[in-house]
Symmetry: C2
Subunit: 152 residues, 2 copies
């Protein structure tokens, strides 16, 4: 029993200090179901603490990514997007469906168990065959949503 919330404990476990910018960014990620970019996170963060700099946001996100606390994605719009690894707002395991026009991202969970099973099997074989230590995979579907395709 440390008395610390889970995510703050995680910082301690890695010998990291619990600073205000880190708290602010954790809280903000905890309360969104979106895939925010560094700039979006920065603009949200300064509402809570106007002195937070964009540099710190980048550094903090990278740090969280390094310790596995956030996932970092590229959905093809020239900026990284982040989501908390264990987000109470989301289903634990999901993959992504991206509208290449409006950049809306749907977290889908359909067939996710089946997918996961196949991914695990594939991961095992690939690890052995190519001698890779695999730690992560992504599945992205790209398309155009109804809203961006009004006719038909």
């Amino acid at each position: 029993m440390s008395g610390y919330p889970l995510r703050q404990q995680r910082l301690y476990d890695f010998g990291l200090k619990l600073t205000n910018p880190r708290k602010v960014i954790i809280n903000l990620l905890k309360n969104t179901d979106k895939h925010l970019s560094a700039e979006e996170i920065y603009l949200d963060a300064i509402k809570t603490n106007p002195s937070i700099g964009l540099t710190t946001v980048y550094r903090t996100l990278d740090l969280f990514f390094q310790i596995g606390m956030v996932q970092k994605y590229d959905f093809g719009d020239d900026r990284a997007r982040y989501e908390l690894t264990d987000n109470p707002f989301k289903n634990q395991h999901h993959h992504h469906l991206v509208c290449v026009k409006c950049r809306t991202i749907v977290d889908y969970t359909d067939f996710v168990n089946e997918e996961l099973e196949l991914m695990n099997k594939t991961e095992k074989i690939l690890s052995e065959k190519y001698q890779y230590k695999i730690f992560h995979h992504t599945i992205h579907f790209y398309g155009v949503c109804t809203h961006c395709r009004p006719v038909q």
Copy 2:
């Protein structure tokens, strides 16, 4: 019967002109099994025609991507990488296994039929459920290769 090679025909079909930089870039992509970046393509292209500019390489690759002739990927190393959609050097359908240290990319085809079947099924359901017109998907595995992990 047009008399043109397939890929050149494709340019005509889209009302595009067959210029030297485009020919050079097509040929070079046809003869590699790698996932080249724009700069790598540029450095290769100027061996054939030194007057080709980097700008044109970017424009040409984007054009080819728009008409579906090349695939454009982000493997997390801060630059886009390209491969010909139908490359005689490669298995038609494959997915990617990326070493996050040395950035080697393995095209794997293991379980690709099983994967494809599941992807098609998933794609169908997602299309209907979320009303997306899906045209593309990616599966990336990320890990570290033996070479980058010498001990054990």
